[in-house]
Symmetry: D2
């Protein structure tokens, strides 16, 4: 049976990528599109709406939302109330809003997903890193991005380090009387482990987590070449929420 | 509380490495050593035995066994009967023997481990590969070994491919009308995925599992530089079997 | 002093990339654009032409050509005759044509470049590989491309292997009685070395050359993410041909 | 024709490795061994000496020296005076001593090599890095060593950075208003480029030099697993010095 999908915010960059992905997947059927400002009434046979209220009676299973932080909370509330399982990529929800929406999803017995990061590979890498750190507590992170990125280390690297520090006994790595002959050589220190940030033209977004132990090494690497990669995560989200009866925050909870 | 350990086959290469590892871990205490041919009666205060029967009354928790395929089955049976949880690195057990020993361990309410492979990093890599393949069905394996290795692909590569093929829908990778202008370029075919074997002097034992998906890649790599790496797995085995009440086959079941 | 540049074929994909690159480099000045079919007469102050004959009197130093195989030979001949050093990315020249154009360039004392491959990183990698193979004769090549590529191994991998085989004593790598338990595991054989072709979605164009020797390894890797990378080579070509007095075939001859 | 070789300091770790290497190479013949303290008179048919003076009349072409800094200068002087081309791995020569020995080698028309680093792969990597930096000025260095190494960055990484800075226009890499949210994330700064030092158990000695440019990347990596790798460089040294008529300092001058 096909899963019927609505896309809210289909005119934006992510919305367009979602439109393409849903259209091309034979297991998914597009049944409605929402954008407050468009004049279009229909695209390739799919009705287009300016107001979400007009969509309440659509025969849809999933509400995909790539709108604005402002609109997303109300949209998600509306989707759940209308019986649609939400898959939301907009950031900016408060913990209270997430709690409230989760509560509503339980009442409605609907699954749902709010995800700050749809890069499935990055989420898997973080999970594997946390599993490996139980057995290999010595670890360093190298993240590599294009040279226009301003902050270092990357948010993903810090999040990875946090997940690792939750499962391993805190330890200061390297030899005790280690000395930097040029400051910064050993990278950023986070709970005793080290994070290194490489910035070069040509790179996109890459991360390596390197574990070392007596006589062996284990390396996990994720390469992100293109925003289109997020759609693997959105696709997974759509297919998982219809089997669930509670909204979750974070793609990792659907793996 | 310290875990008291016996090592059977302590004169061999693996046995010696185990001796060193147990001696250096403050959480472990060596209480007996077994070798049928040695004349030594004691090493660094630890009694040495020629016959296992003389060890039945030792105050030991774990029996580490790196003997011969021939001796290992009887040793494991003896260990369980004497109340010692076995950690066995010898290969060559038949499925019937494993079943029988598992049954005995249940009766005795003792944990135990028989492991054909103690390389913890390799075991973790295989587990992660199987998890990732659920979401990223397109995968290739590159294994790299020293150039004196005779068989290709490696046993670990084939086992990894088997684990992957159990979780993903079988698929023929690459484009349908793909053409090798030199035979073998696309590697060994296993259930639609490809395995490539590199053989070069200087290399030890390495494996990469590369997953590709729209706009992203996920790579898992294990480097094995030295036999000493197996001891991380033996150490884990010793500390886990004392908490269990059933023998398992394969280190992965203790993770 | 600025280098004055003409771009022939500026409407194509490569021509557009060249237009952008030249426009943005303060050391280069665009003085003319050629396309047989366009109606435009001027773009951002630069005159546009339909016929090359009308460009003979332009005050230009370099003629960049990304036209068709058919037009490129005549264009290059015209450029040299008009006193412009050609930088040509079109393929399909015969050896006789190249010889003839080289002869003309010598008479005119003009530099010039005809290059089948402008990927500077790939050209450097091939050069380094040939240098390293003198000292490290044991080598394998892994090339990785997107899974829509039909031929394996890639042309670049074969060319790299050819260059290596010119500098090393031919040798059969691996152990003599090596055995493939699954056919193809050891890859494509080329003069005793092995080439492995990986095909996965998400990948673009990548190549690794791995040298192994007693106790050490040397790996050279090139990652090509985007066609825009060719422009580094075109830029280098423009700046080098004005210093030369002979046309060359292949970017490597300008390094 | 075979090259006849003397090894001074054959009892040390490097001397033993050299002994093994020379013995196993059919193109080399061992004709004398020197150690001041040994009682042996002969090893496998090769005469052993306690005093270098007794070796002056040996029919040797090359004098391999892995002695102490104290002895090495006098040994090298003696070797040249006796007509043997020296290959010296001992460090601690002053610039004056090197100049003096070079002068002597010219007079005697003998080749010779004094090398602080015999790791051929590392020397090649540095050369390639310097060549690539001419075309790809954006570069970062990652060096990875075992976690007992005290200083960071490694000497090889700093030397690599120096060689790169000699060929490229000095530039500050990364975006101008780049910000470290944890200090040290961007690594050690050397002439605008960045060096990152990873320290983990299990690692030996590894270095990556990563170049980035529009749409592409070029990575050079050297892995050093074992001291035995130095012997490739010593072997090369022996075979090259017999063709030369001047002593050089640094293996790179023989490539």
């Amino acid at each position: 049976m096909s899963i019927n999908v609505i896309i809210a915010g289909f005119k934006g960059k992510m919305g367009q990528a979602a439109y393409k992905m849903v259209s091309e997947d034979p297991e998914l059927t597009l049944v409605g599109l929402l954008d407050p400002f468009t004049d279009e009434k229909e695209i390739a046979g799919v009705p287009v709406f300016n107001r979400k209220e007009d969509m309440a009676d659509l025969d849809a299973h999933v509400w995909v939302d790539f709108t604005t932080p402002k609109a997303a909370y109300e949209n998600t509330d509306f989707a759940l109330s209308s019986g649609f399982a939400p898959v939301v990529g907009t950031t900016g929800f408060t913990p209270e809003q997430i709690e409230e929406l989760t509560e509503l999803s339980r009442k409605k017995e609907l699954g749902g997903l709010i995800a700050p990061n749809f890069a499935l590979g990055a989420v898997l890498l973080m999970q594997f890193a946390a599993q490996a750190a139980k057995y290999f507590p010595d670890v360093e992170i190298i993240e590599l991005h294009h040279d226009q990125k301003k902050d270092a280390p990357s948010g993903t690297a810090v999040k990875t380090a946090e997940l690792i520090s939750q499962v391993r006994t805190s330890k200061q790595q390297g030899v005790a009387d280690e000395e930097e002959t040029i400051a910064g050589a050993r990278g950023a220190e986070f709970d005793g482990m080290r994070i290194h940030s490489v910035r070069l033209p040509g790179l996109v977004a890459h991360q390596e987590v390197i574990f070392g132990s007596q006589g062996e090494g284990l390396t996990l690497r994720h390469d992100s070449y293109d925003r289109v990669s997020f759609m693997t995560g959105v696709n997974l989200g759509i297919k998982e929420v219809v089997k669930r009866s509670e909204l979750v925050y974070g793609l990792e909870h659907l793996l």
